[in-house]
């Protein structure tokens, strides 16, 4: 067994019983298998194609205290602790997540509680649901989050997940989200990360879509330390569509790795992907997007774009847009660019009395705006414009002091 996984297996050997006691049957059932997978595989090395750009073992190496506190969910419509879920979650929990991924297995092994968002048939959730993950603590902490989103037939919901860190400690969050979008359902899922340089985030989101369902996922990495987002979408019903958008603003020593897979299993589906990165200082960005069109998935339309702006000579960008196509009647394309700011545009603004700094800022902001404008939720759009502007001006590196930590 590899040395780097030992601290976690040892911890589980000691605390496994406690974890099981605090948790519930449906979550305890897959733990043994997860432990086996995790011990057998070890943390993925850079030789594993999907983890090529991130050193997982290094991120998990520090000695974190592991949080084992159950959730408190009070009177929130549609949101439940897994033990209090209104439906039997056995057919859903850990069914979609990649069980051969050590990072996911570690989450399955150590999660104490899970949040279930359940929207019944033909129900439209009026107001967006916001989940705020606030990292607080006196010592370096690791948290394992688990979210299960179930949208039944023709249900509709907007969900916003935000990550914040209050204390200047090292935090490691390992999150697994499973989304079941039933036939004809509509889901808008937004993730906004604004933590600090000491935070490491691993997120694995798995989506399964039924017939004529639509999922729109947007991920914003505004401020972070090390982030690795995995996003797997399987389109299982004809006529379904998915939009995956993302934007990353990184500077200092930040590291952001987005890895997506859209699996067109049946025909007549559409997918659209747009990821934009602005990299400053010594930050590192990575994007790998794989579109898989299976045999027989005819009439697929798929589009993938990744555009990146490197502002300094020490910023690095790795990009890898992939198409893997086994059906002939398809229209698929991908485009990827790495470049810098347009000199002519800068010159134009300078001529009109805009300072160089301001001009650069305007260009970056305009570059990111393309992603923000795709968001249907107006309030969030406005908020993001403000946040991005602040972020680019370097005002977001400290905690804003929202209600939660006052």
């Amino acid at each position: 067994m590899a040395e780097d996984t030992r601290q976690y297996t040892d911890f589980y050997a000691q605390a496994g019983k406690l974890i099981c006691e605090r948790s519930c049957e449906v979550m305890n059932a897959p733990r043994a298998e997860a432990l086996r997978t995790f011990s057998a595989l070890g943390f993925p090395t850079k030789k594993v194609e999907r983890y090529k750009y991130t050193d997982v073992a290094e991120d998990f190496a520090p000695d974190y205290g592991i949080a084992l506190t159950p959730l408190e969910v009070k009177n929130l419509p549609y949101c439940h602790r897994i033990s209090e879920a209104p439906v039997d979650v056995t057919p859903y929990y850990n069914k979609l997540a990649d069980r051969q991924d050590a990072v996911v297995a570690l989450n399955t092994m150590l999660s104490v509680d899970a949040l279930v968002i359940y929207v019944p048939r033909n129900t439209k959730v009026e107001h967006p649901i916001q989940i705020s993950n606030v990292l607080k603590g006196e010592q370096d902490t690791m948290v394992n989050r688990r979210i299960l989103i179930i949208l039944e037939q023709c249900a509709e919901a907007d969900i916003v997940i935000t990550d914040k860190a209050v204390d200047q400690m090292h935090f490691l969050s390992n999150q697994v989200v499973e989304v079941f979008a039933g036939d004809g359902s509509h889901l808008n899922l937004y993730e906004v990360e604004e933590t600090h340089l000491l935070c490491t985030r691993y997120s694995s989101v798995f989506v399964q879509q039924g017939r004529d369902s639509h999922v729109h996922h947007t991920s914003f990495t505004l401020f972070n330390g090390h982030t690795r987002n995995r996003m797997d979408v399987s389109l299982k019903g004809e006529g379904s569509g998915v939009i995956l958008n993302g934007c990353v603003i990184a500077d200092k020593t930040q590291h952001v790795d987005n890895n997506t897979l859209i699996d067109h299993q049946v025909g007549c589906c559409q997918s659209n992907e747009l990821y934009k990165y602005v990299l400053d200082d010594s930050s590192v960005g990575a994007f790998a997007g794989r579109i898989l069109v299976r045999e027989g998935a005819q009439k697929t339309i798929s589009n993938e774009t990744n555009a990146n702006l490197c502002a300094t000579s020490s910023a690095r960008m790795y990009t890898q847009p992939m198409l893997e196509i086994y059906a002939d009647d398809v229209k698929c394309s991908h485009g990827s660019t790495v470049g810098q700011m347009n000199d002519e545009a800068l010159f134009y603004m300078r001529q009109r009395g805009i300072s160089e700094q301001e001009a650069r800022l305007l260009l970056k902001s305009a570059f990111i705006t393309e992603v923000i404008e795709t968001i249907p939720l107006e309030a969030l759009r406005d908020r993001l414009h403000v946040l991005v502007d602040k972020r680019l001006r370097g005002e977001l590196s400290k905690c804003e002091g929202c209600k939660l930590c006052k």
Binding site: R316, Y318, I325, Y326, D328, V330, V338, G339
Partner: protein
């Protein structure tokens, strides 16, 4: 059943017109690979000690490696002990025939392939090095080229006649530690061409090498080395065919190109190894390492390839752009039909300032074939103002085939501009309908559209090759429509 198979074979044979074998006495060493075999090859070629040492180092390193599995290929298990590593069809006549005389059977073979070895018959303006199995049969126009100081001969001769040049450059672009197949080739390489263009010389004719596998149970491990000195220019062509066999034959070559200041090299390949029959049996496994090093300022290198043959193609002609202002191009058309598999593309490594590279790749898949583009564009920290443009298009003919694109871009410099775009689609119904309406049948229409689609690349080929390549495209896709 028997009859049906016969029919299938007939149809297949019609399509691959180079599938004949030449009945010529060939000296083949025993199958198997060991240090003794490496020594034997070296001894047969009468090589100096330093080269034997190079081979042995490569062989020992190769033994520590495992075959790569990252390609998007279903590779049959290759038994490296079941291959003969040296086959010589140019046996000397025991009756003491004229020195340097070539077996008339061999002459006939190359005539049949359209590569006449008699200079008076040759296409004007092309000098040929003809290689069959492990040995170079003849190099034409050597004298004429010598007048200009150009060296064009087989690598075995170069080792004897110009050891200082070979020693300086061999393995300097593709070291034996590069990869599994490069290590294997470095250990057992047989023949290939050596080209040296001295300073300031523009090579007056196209140089070309024709590779032919003939003997059964052998592999071909050719090695080509091209050195283009300051301000020189050369255009080099490569063609290849093999007989039809139901066994897989291995072809693991290395091509190294060194381009110095202000020099330009054009390297074109029309690859037409036997692709296997329509049921995917047999065919050549084409596992090749090709790389050019643009060492000098403003040097230029362009790779053009038309890949229609081989059961499996694993090939990434690459460029290392270290000279300031150097430019590299990669143009490729890869056609796969039936059960062929191709995983091909390029690597552009930008190291010098103001370097520029262009990648145009066109994939065409038909039948049950898999066709993948895999490419890397890397911009090092030192490569200020590097520029890359890549465009990869795939065309799908048939619902059972696959087309894949795996581009990698690593950018470590903020002044670089790297662009990549790719599309995958099938032939537009509108275009087909338009052709049909005008009395062009579907098969011809497809061929017409495919030719138009590949034109951007074919236009880059020298004229004689372009005509050949265009015909080949049509033939390769025969039977894939309808």
């Amino acid at each position: 059943m028997e009859e049906k198979n016969e029919f299938v074979r007939e149809v297949a044979e019609k399509k691959y017109q180079y599938g004949f074998t030449t009945d010529v006495q060939t000296e083949v060493i025993d199958k198997g690979l060991s240090e003794d075999v490496v020594r034997l090859i070296s001894q047969k070629k009468g090589e100096p000690d330093w080269l034997l040492e190079f081979r042995l180092k490569a062989f020992r390193y190769w033994q520590t490696l495992e075959a790569p599995t990252w390609g998007h290929l279903k590779m049959p298990e290759i038994d490296y002990q079941d291959i003969s590593y040296y086959a010589d069809p140019t046996k000397k006549s025991p009756l003491g025939g004229k020195e340097g005389a070539i077996d008339p059977e061999l002459m006939k073979t190359f005539d049949k392939l359209g590569i006449p070895l008699e200079e008076r018959l040759a296409l004007s303006g092309t000098a040929v090095d003809a290689v069959m199995d492990s040995v170079s049969v003849k190099t034409t126009f050597r004298e004429k080229l010598k007048e200009k100081g150009i060296i064009f001969c087989s690598i075995s001769e170069a080792v004897k006649e110009h050891p200082e040049l070979v020693r300086e450059y061999l393995g300097s672009v593709v070291p034996y530690r590069d990869n599994f197949f490069a290590a294997l080739n470095s250990a057992v390489f047989s023949d290939g061409s050596f080209v040296y263009i001295p300073k300031g010389v523009r090579c007056p004719m196209e140089l070309s090498t024709y590779f032919r596998i003939n003997a059964r149970g052998t592999g071909q491990f050719e090695r080509t080395l091209i050195v283009c000195d300051d301000d020189a220019y050369v255009s080099y062509l490569e063609g290849c065919t093999a007989p039809m066999r139901d066994e897989n034959q291995l072809h693991a070559a290395i091509v190294e190109i060194v381009v110095k200041e202000n020099a330009e090299v054009k390297y074109s390949t029309v690859q037409n190894w036997y692709p296997g029959d329509s049921e995917g049996k047999g065919g050549v496994l084409n596992l090749v390492t090709k790389r050019g090093h643009l060492r000098g300022r403003n040097s230029r290198l362009s790779w053009t390839q038309v890949e229609t043959g081989s059961a499996i193609t694993w090939k990434y002609p690459s460029c290392v752009l270290s000279g300031e202002g150097s430019q590299a191009e990669f143009y490729s058309v890869a056609v796969t039909n039936n059960y062929q598999q191709a995983d091909t593309g390029t690597k552009m490594i930008h190291i010098g300032k103001n370097t520029k590279s262009t990648i145009i790749s066109k994939g065409i898949s038909a039948g049950k074939s898999q066709n993948a583009y895999r490419g890397l564009v890397k911009v090092a920290k030192t490569a200020d103002n590097a520029r890359n443009y890549s465009s990869c298009d795939s065309l799908l003919l048939g619902s059972k085939c696959g087309a894949h694109t795996f581009p990698y871009m690593d950018v470590h410099n903020n002044t670089a501009v790297v662009e990549h775009e790719a599309t995958t689609s099938k032939i537009s119904e509108d275009q087909l309908f338009y052709c049909n309406q005008r009395g062009i049948n579907t098969e011809e229409a497809v061929s017409l559209i495919v030719n138009g689609y590949a034109k951007e690349v074919i236009n880059k080929l020298p004229m004689e090759f372009a005509v050949e390549a265009q015909k080949l495209l049509g033939v390769s896709l025969e039977g894939s429509v309808g």
